[in-house]
């Protein structure tokens, strides 16, 4: 018997699968965590810590800023350095009217934290999918590797190909097929037009999610950059229908 739950939270829906468990308190713990993240990090809520930081009502050194928020800010800063400004949560139009929107990091980060929480509770086999960003532990219910479909960029009903792997494993996809051109190049403010989608596989969803955004902004060239991040690999779909993958990425592709 496995647990399965979907929670509408953080502007998306998060599905939680825990293999061979009856312990609903695990699900409740994760759900509570995601709602806490929503309260603190939502740019849609005027009184969230993130909105207050964005407006300058709070300084990041303020005592009201939790260690979690500091960790996110720290990592976003590191990613900004490491990508020469391609990843930049300080230059994005935010729903709260400021230009500070760390959502592109927070989603993957919060799911990775949830995955770590499950591991701490002794859970081995699980799958958490937050709006298409996936953190996997162990094996699927039939004791086989997890199979993760990569959505075809032109057809929301079709899976372009399938990745296979055992956890810990993260798969993140950045694309603009759902909400129009919602990813802009922070360096120019212009929407991304080269790629339809970018997918990154690696050990940690916080980084995989950020790297998928970076890869999407960099374009196909970004695969070179990605190949230098130990443990991570990826693929991109161009708007003209080509699939370009890094060599390591093919290791995960199911036959």
């Amino acid at each position: 018997m496995s647990l399965h739950h979907v929670e509408a939270v953080m502007g998306t829906s998060i599905s939680i699968d825990i293999v061979d468990s009856h312990d609903r308190s695990l699900v409740e713990e994760l759900v509570a965590w995601f709602h806490e993240v929503d309260e603190v990090f939502s740019p849609y809520k005027d009184d969230s810590v993130i909105s207050r930081l964005g407006r300058g009502d709070l300084a990041h050194t303020d005592v009201q800023v939790s260690d979690d928020v500091r960790e996110v800010l720290q990592r976003c800063g590191e990613l900004n350095e490491a990508t020469d400004g391609v990843f930049d949560v300080w230059s994005l139009p935010s729903p709260n009217g400021t230009c500070f929107d760390p959502c592109g990091y927070v989603k993957g980060w919060s799911v990775q934290r949830a995955a770590r929480l499950l591991e701490q509770r002794g859970v081995i086999d699980f799958c958490i999918n937050a709006g298409g960003d996936v953190a996997l532990g162990g094996l699927s219910g039939d004791h086989a590797p997890w199979r993760v479909g990569i959505r075809h960029p032109d057809d929301s009903m079709a899976v372009a190909f399938v990745l296979e792997g055992a956890g810990p494993l993260a798969v993140a996809t950045s694309a603009s097929y759902e909400r129009g051109a919602h990813i802009v190049d922070p360096r120019t403010g212009q929407p991304i037009t080269e790629l339809a989608s970018a997918t990154v596989v690696g050990p940690d969803l916080a980084d995989a999610d950020a790297y998928a955004t970076v890869l999407y902004v960099m374009g196909a060239d970004g695969l070179y950059w990605l190949a230098q991040q130990p443990g991570y690999s990826g693929c991109v779909f161009t708007r003209d229908g080509q699939l370009i993958t890094s060599e390591e990425f093919n290791f995960y592709r199911a036959a």
Binding site: H4, V6, E7, A8, G11, T12, S13, D17, H35, D38, S42, Y44, G54, L58, H60, L73, G77, E78, N80, E81, A82, D84, G85, W90, C99, N129, A130, V134, R147, V148, G149, H152, D155, S156, M157, A158, V159, A160, F161, V162, A172, T173, A175, Y177, E178, P186, R187, S197, M218, A220, D221, L223, Y224, A227, Q228, G241, Q242, L243, I244, E247
Partner: protein, 243 residues
């Protein structure tokens, strides 16, 4: 940044290289790479939370562009072209890349693999952050549901009311019918016509999904899932299936 020249990747099949591909490869090198090819540094502390108008450093970008171009000249590539008759030609070029990685280029016809969704990953329409409502998932029907039509509850969203009914046949979801959907203003009509048929397809096709989950957001709406779930709950309850 180093450019290890890795050699010895042999040509799998020899076929002429498409001039378009060559052009594309050249473009690949000419485009701004916009990224450092050096490994990530452990940067300093977080940046102050407001920082409008950051821009790239042009000189650095130009330098990197040159580096990327040189990387492309030593690129290892596998190229697979698929024509409309499904025939494929494969070309592999030789030698190494800057990062020592092989790049595979393939035409990507939308293969009709089963879709999305053991777990439909939703994108809530441009609204604010989702409310606290818990939606148990529209899971594949458990065996043993009594055949029949089960009506879901209606759910209001900002565009109007959504209500579906689910038809079970042979213990499986055979059809999902939309009883109500928003049709107030022009915008709603457009949303309904595009989104709902897709959702119906997704539900039907998910039953044969051979994947555990899908990366890349798929189209669903919360109201649809709520109504759908209550129809499935009703079907289970009527069939004496719990949970």
């Amino acid at each position: 940044m180093t450019t290890p020249s890795k050699s010895g990747k042999s040509t799998r099949q020899t076929a002429p290289i498409d001039p378009l591909l060559q052009q594309r490869l050249a473009q690949l090198g000419n485009r701004r790479p916009g990224s450092p090819l050096s490994p990530p540094k452990n940067g300093p502390a977080a940046k102050p939370p407001t920082k409008p108008g950051r821009r790239a450093k042009p000189a650095r970008a130009a330098k990197l562009s040159a580096l990327a171009l040189s990387a492309v000249t030593t690129l290892g590539l596998t190229v697979v072209f698929a024509d409309q008759n499904g025939q494929t030609d494969s070309v592999q070029l030789t030698s190494g890349t800057a990062a020592g990685s092989l790049i595979t280029v393939a035409a990507a016809p939308p293969t009709a693999v089963t879709p999305a969704a053991v777990t439909p990953a939703a994108v809530t329409p441009a609204t604010t952050v989702a409310p606290a409502a818990t939606v148990a998932v529209a899971a594949p029907a458990p065996a043993g549901v009594v055949d029949g039509t089960y009506v879901g509850g209606s759910d209001r969203n900002r565009w109007g009311t959504v209500q579906v009914q689910v038809v079970y046949s042979g213990g499986q979801v055979a059809d999902v019918q939309i009883l109500q959907y928003p049709n107030g203003d022009r915008n709603s009509i457009r949303i309904s016509q595009v989104a709902l048929p897709r959702l119906v397809n997704e539900t039907l096709r998910s039953q044969s999904a051979d994947v555990n989950t899908v990366s890349g957001a798929t189209y669903t709406s919360k109201s649809y899932r709520i109504s759908m779930q209550s129809a499935i709950d009703a079907a289970n309850a009527a069939s004496g299936i719990s949970g």
